[in-house]
C-alpha cells in the first residue's frame, strides 16, 4: 500500500488549506460574535451574549431572516417545479437529443452570475423589455413598478439561477433508476401514471432532497440578487451582514448573524443527508 509519507504528502495540503482558510476564520467569527464595539469604534474583547440578544430583539434582523427563508423556500419550490419535469423528460423521453439538451441546461452556468442578474434588471425595469412590450400591446398604460425592486424580482432571478442546481441531482437520480423496474411495473399492470408515482418518484427522492437543499441553501445566503433587484422590500439577511461588516462597522453583530445562518445551514444539510440516506436503496 501507500507509505505514510506519501499519504501525508497527499492529505496535508488540503487539510492545511481547510484549516487556515475555513476553520480558523469560522473560529474567529465565532469569537467575534461574543465581543462588542465601543463608543470609540474599537472592538472590545469582553465576552457576552448581547449580540445574540439584539438579533432576537431588533425586529429588522429576525424579520429579514424570516423573509430570506421565505424567499429561499419559494425559490426552492419553483426550482423543483421547473427542474423535475425537465429532468424527467430528459432522462426518460429525450432519446438521442439527451446529451444536447443536458448541455443546454448546463450552459447558463458558464455565464457570470452577475451578467444574468443584470439581464433580469434590463428585462424587468420600468423602461425594460417586459414593460415596453406590455405597453406596446396595450395591456398596461404605465410601467408595472412591482416587477423590479421587489421580492418578486429576487425570487424570479434566483429561480432562474438555481434551477440547474436543482435539476442536476434530480437528473442523476432518475438516470440511476434501472429501466427494467419501469418495465416490471408496466408488466404488472401499472399504467404510466401509476408507475411514475409508485416507482419512479419514490426512487428519485434522494435527488429531489439534494436539489431542494442546493436551491434553498444557495438562495438563502444570496446577496447580489437582492442588492441589484430587491430594492428596500427585497433585502435579504446577507445584505444586512454585508453592511454590518462594512459601512455600519459592527463586526461582532455581523458575526453573530453569520453564525446563526451557519448553524441553520449546517443543521439543514444534516437533515437532508439523513433524508437522502433513508430513501436510497443501492
Amino acid at each position: 500500500m501507500f507509505s505514510r509519507a506519501y499519504k501525508a504528502a497527499v492529505t496535508l495540503p488540503p487539510l492545511i488549506w481547510v484549516t487556515v482558510f475555513l476553520l480558523l476564520p469560522y473560529l474567529l467569527m465565532f469569537c467575534y460574535s461574543f465581543w462588542s464595539v465601543s463608543a470609540s469604534q474599537t472592538i472590545e474583547h469582553s465576552w457576552n451574549l448581547s449580540n445574540y440578544g439584539q438579533l432576537l430583539q431588533v425586529n429588522v434582523y429576525w424579520q429579514t431572516l424570516l423573509r430570506s427563508m421565505w424567499i429561499a423556500a419559494r425559490v426552492t419550490i419553483f426550482s423543483l417545479l421547473l427542474g423535475y419535469p425537465l429532468a424527467y423528460f430528459l432522462s426518460f423521453y429525450a432519446g438521442r437529443k439527451k446529451d444536447l439538451l443536458y448541455q443546454l441546461v448546463i450552459i447558463p452556468l458558464w455565464v457570470s452570475y452577475l451578467v444574468r442578474a443584470y439581464a433580469w434588471k434590463t428585462i424587468l425595469g420600468s423602461d425594460g423589455v417586459l414593460n415596453t412590450l406590455l405597453q406596446y400591446v396595450h395591456l398596461t398604460k404605465h410601467p408595472l413598478e412591482f416587477l423590479l425592486y421587489s421580492p418578486f424580482a429576487v425570487v424570479l432571478t434566483l429561480t432562474h439561477i438555481y434551477t440547474p442546481f436543482a435539476f442536476l441531482p434530480i437528473y442523476a437520480a432518475l438516470e440511476h433508476i434501472p429501466r427494467n423496474l419501469v418495465e416490471a411495473s408496466h408488466d404488472l399492470g401499472a399504467t404510466p401514471a401509476q408507475t411514475f408515482w409508485k416507482v419512479i418518484f419514490p426512487l428519485s427522492i434522494p435527488g429531489v432532497v439534494a436539489g431542494a437543499t442546493f436551491a434553498f441553501v444557495l438562495s438563502l445566503g444570496d446577496f447580489l440578487a437582492p442588492l441589484l433587484l430587491g430594492g428596500p422590500s427585497g433585502i435579504m439577511i446577507s445584505n444586512i451582514v454585508v453592511s454590518l461588516f462594512g459601512a455600519a462597522y459592527n463586526w461582532p453583530l455581523g458575526a453573530a448573524i453569520s453564525f446563526c445562518m451557519l448553524l441553520l445551514v449546517v443543521s439543514l444539510l444534516f437533515f437532508s443527508e439523513r433524508l437522502e440516506k433513508k430513501w436510497s436503496f443501492s
Binding site: 434501472p178 427494467n180 423496474l181 418495465e183 416490471a184 411495473s185 408496466h186 408488466d187 404488472l188 399492470g189 401499472a190 399504467t191 401509476q194 409508485k198 416507482v199 419514490p202 426512487l203 430513501w279 436503496f281 443501492s282
Partner: protein, 366 residues
C-alpha cells in the same frame, strides 16, 4: 403463407390435444438495418412449458420482449386466444414476466413487491393480503415478507420475482434467463422447483435460456432459435433424436456430422458405406456418440456399419467417457462409452445405419 410458419403450426400443441393459448404469426423485428428476428411463427398451448433456446444474439430475448410488449414487432402479429396482443400496451396484457435480474422494486418490501400487481389493479385489501400470503408460501418466502430485496439472497430474490408474477394469475408467464445468475447447484435445484411449480399452477411458461441442458430438463417443447430464425421446434426427445439441421444436432448435445454422397441408394461417406432410400446427391448425417460401439469380436449384425481407427483423445465425464477416434482420411469420430477400461488404441467401431440421421445443412447467416 410461408412454409416455415406451416411447419411451426403443425408442430404446435405437441400432439397433446391442448388448446392453443398464444400464437405468434410471422413476427419480424429489425433495429435499423439489422434484422434481429425473421418470420417467426410459433404456437404455445395451454399449460405448456416452452423453451426458446438460442445463443446470445439469436434474438430470443427480443422475441420475449415482443410478447411482453416492451418491443414492437416490425412485422407480424401476436394473438392470445381471440385477442390481438401486439397492439396493446404491456400493462393491458395478461402476461407477466420474470426478469433476468429480477427487477424487484428496491424501495418496497418483499410483501409489497408481490402485492404490487394487485394494488395497481385496485383489488380489495383483504384479497390482496390472502393472495400475497399464498404466493409467498408457494415459493417458501413467507419468513422474509417484511425484508427489503437488498437484504435477501439471489435465489430468494428469484423466488420473490416468481411470486410477484404468479400472484396476478397470468395466462402466460415469460421467464428471461431467470436462473442464469445463480450458481450451478442452486440452479439445478431451481430447475426442478420451477418445473413442478409450473405443473402445479398449470400456467403456460415461455422460458428463455442459452443453456441446452436446462432446456432439455425442463421443457415440453424447445424452440431453437439461430440468428433470428427458428431452426427447429420439437420436444426435447425429438430434437435430440431427430435433429432437423446440422446446427440443431451440434447445439443440443454432442454429435458427429458425416458429410456423404448418395448414389444409387447407397451412402458413401469417407471410409464407409451403407444403403439408404435417399435421392442422389450430397447428404449430411448426424450420428450421436452413444450410437457408436466398439466391436468386441462378434460378427457384424444386419444394418450395421463398421470402421477402423485409432484412439487419439479420451475425456472422462463421470458416468460416461467421450473418446475421439481418428479413422482413415482424417475423419474423427466421437464415441460415448460407459467406462473405457478395456479399450485399446487400435479399435473397430460400429453403428447401425438407422441411427445416422439425415440433417439439413445450416447455411451461414450474418
Amino acid at each position: 403463407m410461408t412454409t416455415t410458419s406451416e411447419i411451426a403450426m403443425a408442430a404446435a400443441g405437441d400432439g397433446s390435444g391442448r388448446a392453443t393459448l398464444l400464437s405468434i404469426r410471422s413476427v419480424a423485428k429489425r433495429f435499423g438495418k439489422n434484422a434481429v428476428l425473421r418470420d417467426i411463427s410459433l404456437e404455445v398451448a395451454e399449460g405448456e412449458f416452452l423453451t426458446i433456446l438460442g445463443e446470445s444474439g439469436s434474438g430470443k430475448t427480443t422475441l420475449l420482449r415482443i410478447i411482453a410488449g416492451f418491443e414492437t414487432a416490425s412485422a407480424g402479429e401476436v394473438w392470445m386466444g381471440e385477442e390481438r396482443l401486439d397492439r396493446q400496451p404491456p400493462y393491458r396484457r395478461r402476461v407477466n414476466t420474470v426478469f433476468q435480474h429480477y427487477a424487484l422494486f428496491p424501495h418496497l418490501t418483499v410483501e409489497q413487491n408481490v402485492a404490487y400487481g394487485l394494488r395497481v389493479a385496485k383489488r380489495p385489501e383483504a384479497e390482496i393480503a390472502s393472495r400475497v400470503l399464498e404466493a409467498l408460501e408457494k415459493v417458501k418466502m413467507s419468513a422474509q415478507a417484511k425484508s427489503k430485496p437488498s437484504k435477501i439472497s439471489g435465489g430468494q430474490q428469484q423466488r420473490v420475482a416468481l411470486a410477484r408474477a404468479l400472484v396476478n394469475r397470468p395466462r402466460l408467464l415469460l421467464l428471461d434467463e431467470p436462473l442464469s445468475a445463480l450458481d450451478a447447484n442452486l440452479r439445478r435445484q431451481m430447475q426442478v422447483e420451477l418445473k413442478s411449480l409450473q405443473r402445479e399452477v398449470g400456467i403456460s411458461f415461455i422460458f428463455v435460456t442459452h443453456d441446452q441442458e436446462e432446456a432439455m430438463v425442463m421443457s415440453d417443447r424447445i424452440a431453437l432459435l439461430r440468428s433470428g430464425e427458428l431452426e427447429q421446434v420439437a420436444t426435447p426427445r425429438e430434437i435430440y433424436g431427430r435433429p432437423a439441421t446440422a446446427y440443431a444436432a451440434q447445439f443440443i448435445g454432442h454429435t458427429n456430422l458425416l458429410k456423404g454422397e448418395v448414389r444409387a441408394r447407397v451412402v458413401r461417406c469417407e471410409a464407409f458405406t451403407w444403403p439408404a432410400a435417399l435421392p442422389d446427391g450430397p447428404a449430411l448425417f448426424s450420428l450421436r456418440p452413444e450410437n457408436l460401439r466398439f466391436v468386441d469380436g462378434s460378427g457384424p449384425t444386419a444394418g450395421s456399419v463398421r470402421v477402423r481407427g485409432k484412439v487419439c483423445h479420451r475425456a472422462f465425464h463421470g458416468a460416461t467417457e467421450l473418446i475421439r477416434v481418428e479413422c482413415a482420411d482424417g475423419l474423427v469420430l466421437v464415441v460415448r462409452t460407459s467406462g473405457s477400461g478395456g479399450v485399446r488404441d487400435d479399435v473397430e467401431l460400429e453403428f447401425s445405419a438407422a441411427d445416422a440421421v439425415l440433417v439439413r445443412e445450416s447455411p451461414e447467416r450474418i
